[in-house]
Amino acid sequence: EDKVVQSPLSLVVHEGDTVTLNCSYEVTNFRSLLWYKQEKKAPTFLFMLTSSGIEKKSGRLSSILDKKELFSILNITATQTGDSAIYLCVELGNQFYFGTGTSLTVIP
């Protein structure tokens, strides 16, 4: 059965720390992997990854996909309190498959 597993489930760090969020997947007919940041309730799109080994960057955030080992990581460097959110990993195969999210709390 296709599934997406995120780890850790929750994380508390201090401002300035670097964090790595993990997403592993088991899917048939993989098409793409997406990361979202969810603050309050509305998810904000971060990255879409389709090719293995190509890092995507946006400011302090970056993400990479490994299609051989079936995982993706989301890195956040120099974390800020505004990075506190739930980070959702979504895989698009024959349909959308959602992880349960990683809750990140950044404390001053």
Binding site: F45, L88, F96
Partner: protein
Amino acid sequence: GAGVSQSPSNKVTEKGKDVELRCDPISGHTALYWYRQSLGQGLEFLIYFQGNSAPDKSGLPSDRFSAERTGGSVSTLTIQRTQQEDSAVYLCASSYSHEQYFGPGTRLTVT
């Protein structure tokens, strides 16, 4: 155990008709979310239920959309007078704390 289920899995309707989409959350989960994912669009929040509190309807795109959650469990999303731009996958998720467990979605096509 049983996850979040949604029905129907696919719905094709004519423009102007009303549709009802159902979500059965995981038993004991107090929070329930509705989202939609349109072709070429990101994940869009629609409405959020938490326990007995008044729902957060801030994401509903128009007054044609409404949702209710009966007995703190099953939820129904109703779209009245459907339009073609309503075509999307409608996703339901439930949670007890912060982890959200998503259902398989209902693919709605308005012709």
